[in-house]
Each structure stands twice: as structure tokens, then as C-alpha cells.
Amino acid sequence: MADRTIPIEGTLDLTPPPVDQQTWLETVHEWVTTVDHKKLGLLYMMLSIFFLLVGGVEALAIRIQLAVPNNHFLAPDTYNRLFTMHGTTMVFLVGMPFLFGFTNYIVPLQIGARDMAFPRLNAFSFWMTLFGGLMLYYSFLGGSGLYGVGNAPDVGWWAYAPLTARAFSPGNATDYWALSLIVTGVGTLGGAINTIATVICMRCKGMTLMRMPLFAWLMLVVSGLLLITITPLTAAQIMLSIDRYLGGHFFDTQAGGSAVVWMHFFWIFGHPEVYVLVFPAFGIASEVIPVFSRKAIFGYPAMVAASVGIGFISLGVWAHHMFTVGMTSVSNAFFVLSTMLVGVPTGIKLFNWLATMWGGKIRFKVPMLFCTAFLFQFLIAGLTGIMLSIAPWDWQLHNSYFVVAHFHYMLVGAIVFNIFSGIYYWYPKATGRMMSETLGKWHFWLFLIGFHMTFDLMHVVGVDGMPRSIYTYEADRGWAHLNMIISIGGFIQAIAVLIFAYNLFWSYYRGREAGSDPWDAWTLEWSTSSPPPVYNFAVPPEVKSRRPLWDIKHPEDPDWKYE
């Protein structure tokens, strides 16, 4: 792509870079003490990728155990710990750090700022997240230590009461869950506050909110949502700890406490949380699709409104996770309606992306391959979400593998696919090198095949009556063949991810030089060198439209004539 770019006058610095001869220790010190948003962004990304691999190994262990009925690969309590840790890891140590990784690196560059609003808070948030993760994983060494399976949490990532009460979960497994997530929660809150302050207070001159790149918009909405999403979880976990350590009765059904109250509090966090996880995917789609379709995003104001709308409505749907709990028919009906309604702005976004591609000149480079798959898969995931919102049908589907299939379609099919897209898209900016297209294509197609093998069939096995969270199943239920294929698909995905990890390393040393604007894109981050200097912009930029680089490249037809 670099040879088709019109170089932007004056943005390329032709002076040779200074020759740094740092010792290894000095490099480590630099990274450990950094408050620079780019380095912290990369640290978050490295954390996420590391835990993605760990969580992936946990998933593979689960799939080996489930490949045949009545398997003895994992003992029941090992299995229960692994699926709890798989879920907890993927949500809190992969999904959220990816969010902050992208936000940290990209948002200041896109809004023409030199750093986040609070660099030291930024570093603090990262290290809190890391320490929380280490604390969670330390649990594997607890209990009977390395001889047994340790003391990792084994109550499901949703940790329903009263299974989490002292009476039913003696030992410290549940405490590791509650306390380490309180720690990461502090990091998350710090990151959210930082993002809001950055986007609202540090935009460059001329960049009104309605001229901001959509990625930055979505990170603003997600940070606002996070303020009131992660905090209910923290509150509930404090209550759980009070119950477990101080003899409290919040969820103690013997003393009049309520197990259902835990469910409400958890899902008041849990549902908006999944929107938190998916918003970065939306943001990446809104950046990648226009650039690779060679068209401006269709319906920018509608996209902003839809994002804000999704944020608000998502706060009112939580009890669709509780349709089987015995709420009144009126309550059930209310949550059916609110859940269906959140599908409307979500659909609007999908249609706008389609309209962006319509009439375009689509270049199917690796980022766009992943984004296109995202569109298909997000559509399907949304539709199975509608199916699940039908409360009576949910009385059958709830807690079955159909639900597992649905949310993995969202988490992997939509979110992970777009995270890959974003990494392939912005890796050149961060490193100055292109990732290998060939390896990228292998990664894409293998991952696509493995993903569909696993998660398409998972819908079927759920409809066939297989519940979730079971360490094994009976041979006569007819689930064995499907489970075997599902497991094989998991391994294919694993191979694909290994290819990706290899690509990350290989490209850093051997990738083609990227230049500042390898994709011929239009937002501010592409006006800096690759990688950008520590201070991002020598002089803060000034913008007049949503696509400042388009205006430069097309002086005869700038965007500000139409906005």
C-alpha cells in the first residue's frame, strides 16, 4: 500500500534516528516506569495476548475433556476450576486490557493529543490490572499447591450465591476471585476516568466531538458505561467478602438474605460488561471498513447516536439472564422488550457499515478480511441474541450450549476477529513494519474454519439438550459426535492463533517497512511517523473535518465542504 500513498508534505522526518545503546536493564526500567500512553498501550496489549494464550490453553483442556462422553482427562473439580478461570480470564484479563490497550495507543493520536490526560494514573491502572491478574493466577498455587489443582476459583465466572458462601465454598478459592477482581476493577475505573478526561479535555483545535474519529467516540461511550458497570461488581464483591469474612448475610438465604439479589447485582454489571467488551470491536470496524472500502463512514451522526443509545439501553436489560429464576410474568415481559430494543441501534450500526461498503472499492487486505467475517458473525450473534430474548424460548435455551455458542459468537466471532483486524491495521503504526500478509491469510482462514466448526455446531448441541458447566455427559444423549468436532475446531483455532503470535514476532524483525501511512487512511494517527515520536506531534494539529488527511490528499474535494 505504501507505494500508492501520497506522502504528506512535512510529516516525514528525514533526519536519521538517534542511535540508542541501552543496556537490557535500562530498557526494562524504561518500560516498568513508563507513563507514556504508547508504551502503556503496548503493555496492555502484551498482557492481553499473554492471557489470551493462557485462557486458550484452559479452553483446550476443557475441549479435550468434553471430546468424548464420560472422559477422565480432567477430574470434576479441576474442570470446574478451569472453566471458571477460562471465563474470568477472558473477560477481565483479555477483553478489558485489549480495550485499554487500543484506547491508550490510538485515542491520543487520533485526537491530536500528546498523551492521555493523566499519565501516572494510566500507569497505575495498568499495574493494578496486572497485579489483579497475577493474584488471580496465584490461586493455582494455593490450597494443596502444585500437587493438587491448587485453589483456583471453581464457582463459575458468575459466582452465584449461595454456592459462594463459606458453607458451600470453604477454602479461599472464591476469595481469590472476589479480591483479585476488585483489584483489576480499580485499574479499570482508573482507565475509564482517564479516557473520559482525555477525550473531553484534550482534543486538538477544531476537533469538535462530532469531528472525532468514531473509534474515539466509542471509547468515550465505553468509558462512561464502565463507570457504572464495573462499580456494581465491585460493590457486590465487597458484599460477598463481608458475607464470607465478617459473617454478613447479604446472600445468606438461611438468614433471610437472597440469592436472587446477587444475580441482580451481578448482571447489572454483567450485561453492560458485554457491551463494554464489544464496543472496541465496533470502533475498529468503524475505522477499518471505511479505509478499506475507500469511502467515508456512512451516517456518522447516526453511528454516534446508535452507540450512545446502545450504551443507555444496555443498562436496562440485565434480567434477561434471569428469565428462569422465577420473576413475575410482567418483569419477564419488560426485559424481553428492553432486550429486543437494544437490537435496533445495534442493527443500525451494522447497516451503516454495509452502506459504507456499498459503492466502494473494497481492498481485501488482512484487516478487512477479519472485519468482513466480523460482519457476518456479528449478524448471526445478534440474531441468536434475539432468539434468546424470547423469554419462553430462553426457558429452554438458558444455561445450555446454545447460550455458550451465542456469546462465543460475540466474544470470538465479533470481538476477537476485530481485535485481530485492529492489530493488523495498527501494528505498522506502532512498529514501523507491516505484518506478513501471507501469514495473516493463513491465520485468517484457519481461524475462520476452526471458529465455525466449533461454534456453529455448539448451537446444535445446545438445542439437543446439553447444559453448560458440566464436566462430562452421558454417552446415550447423542452429543458425542458433535462434541468431538467442536473440540477439533478448537485446536484448529489454536494453530491459527499460534501462527498469529509467530507473525507478531517475525514481522517486528522482517516485516516490510511501513512508512507513516501504509493503508492510505484519513485520521490523524497516520500523519505521524511509524512509530510516532514520544511526543506524537511536534506542534499540535488543527482539523477542519472528520478526515483531516483526506482534506490534504484531496484539496479539490475536502470533507469540510460537506459536513
Binding site: 470446574n80 458451600f168 456518522y300 451503516n352 419462553p392
Partner: protein
Amino acid sequence: MLFFLLLPALAFADGPQSMPSIFAPASTPASDIFSLSLFVLAITGGIFLVVAGILTYVIFRFRDKGDAGDKHEPAQVFGSTQIEMAWTVIPVLIVVVLFLTTARMIFAIQDAPKPADAMDVTVVGHQFWWEFRYPKLGIVTANELHVPLSAKGHPEPTYLKLYSADVDHSFWVPQLAGKTDLIPNHPNLTWVEPQQPGLYLGQCAQFCGIEHAKMLLRVYVDTPAQFAAWVKNQEQPAVDDQSPEVVAGRRVFETEACMNCHTIRGTVATGRFGPDLTHLMSRSTIASGAVPNTEVNLREWIKDPDHFKPGSQMPAMQLTNQQLDEVTAYLETLK
């Protein structure tokens, strides 16, 4: 994918099957849900075909053909208020239709008026077994539920009151009804109205601890004759076999703390912590469906419950081989 989903329903038309598919309903709530799900599938399937169709078209029609000479950017279109309105209004209308249909069914199933002659069962969920009590009949059993067949002209639904003795569980027999949770301090009510006799399979559907996977359900839908016979047998106190090994086994049962947890009606054993064993031999499985109810399995279960269900709440009482033989012989008489 739709085809795969419907395969179970197409392959098995009526009645119970070993694969408990939600698309093979045999009872009113499950059938109602199945019809609703077909309606929803039709709508979502239609949406999928349209949107995915457009996406497929777009991918092929508007891809960059790579002409080296053509460096022009396509026409930049920034939006269209009419189109935005269109694809806002149409989904809202779809939502309205889906919501009204769904709400109607919620009320129909959840608030269905209970007929006076409905069968009543009280279900108590335990870690990791099911207690079934028939209050009007004075019967207590465990893990295997018998309900009467509900004929078309003379419906006789069974209403299940759901309680929990410890943590959250969920009662799910897909061919009979949607699942309902058993939550301590929060009684729930569900009902089934089965129209085909036979054995229906299910299991606990809310993670309840280490052996959640083995908290299985067997529901026998009995014809009136079968049900009457079953009730008659269950109402009897325990069989009192006086042969020497059986008597010795009964002594083992009473002295080795078994009676602290189990009830055998007609004897001094009145424990409530574990399943009622009065008619243990009328059940085809033990350990809540984990293993078939054979003499060998029963002996092994008593010797070491963790062998079949590691983490189950029943302790191994360290019985000698002779005690095991005797107590197994005793239990084998409890038909």
C-alpha cells in the same frame, strides 16, 4: 445451520428419545415454546438471508479489481436520513411483533390457571440429587419422577413446586417444559402436561458444585394404569424380608449411621439428608442417574461413592466386605 437445528425434530416425530432435544416436545409448555421458536426462526432466518445476502453481494460487486491505472476514489456518500429512518422503523416494527407474540406466551405459560385436579409434586434440590414428594399421596421418592399422562380430552397437568435445600439448581427436562430454577428461600412453580408416555431425560441446569454434571433427571410419564400401579407400590412401607443375610444387612444399615441420612419407611431410619430408600429397587439408576441400579454398582457405590461421583455428599463409611454384602442384600429387597 437451520437444517442441523431442526434435524432432531425431523428425525424423531413423537415421544421420548434419549437425546433430549428442545425441538422434540412431548408436553404442552414445550410444544408451545417449540411453535414460538419456529415463528422466531422464520423471522430471524429472513433477516439473515436479506442482510447476509446484501453483504455477500457487496463483497463481490464492490471489490477493488486491482486495475493499476485506476487511482480514483469512489464517490463519497456521507449518509441519508431517509435510509436511516427506514432501517430504524422496520426493525422497531419487527420488535413490536416479536414482543407481543412473546408476551402472550409468557402469560399463557407462567400464569396458566391451575386445574383443581392437577397432580402436585414438591421438588427439593440437593447437592447432587432430587427429592420428590407427593403431598396429596403421602409418597416420597428421589431422582426418578413419575407423572401421569395427560390425555387430550382430559388434561391432567402436574404442577411442581421447586425448593432448594442448599444452593441454586435448575429443573430441566427439555421435551417436557422450559427449565425453572430451584433457589433457596425463593420457591418457584412450574408445570408439565405430557402427552406421550415413556421415559424423558433431563438434568440440573444451574451449576451447583462439583458434581453438577451428574445430577441427572429421569421422568416417567405413565399411563393411568401404570401410574396407579406405581403409586400403589410407593405407598407401601418398606418390604420386610426376614432372611438372615437381609436381616444382618438391615442391622448394618441401622448401626453404621446410614439411617442418619436416609429414610426407609416402616423402619427406624428417618434421616432426611439423603434420598428416601424405601423403594430403592423401583428405580433404574442410582446416584441421581449416574449409574444403572445393579447389585454390583450399588455395592460399589456404598463402598466408595467417590468412585462414581467424586465430591458427592455421601461419605464412604469404611464398611468391611461382609458388611457391604449384607447391606447390599438388604437394599436389594427394597422393591
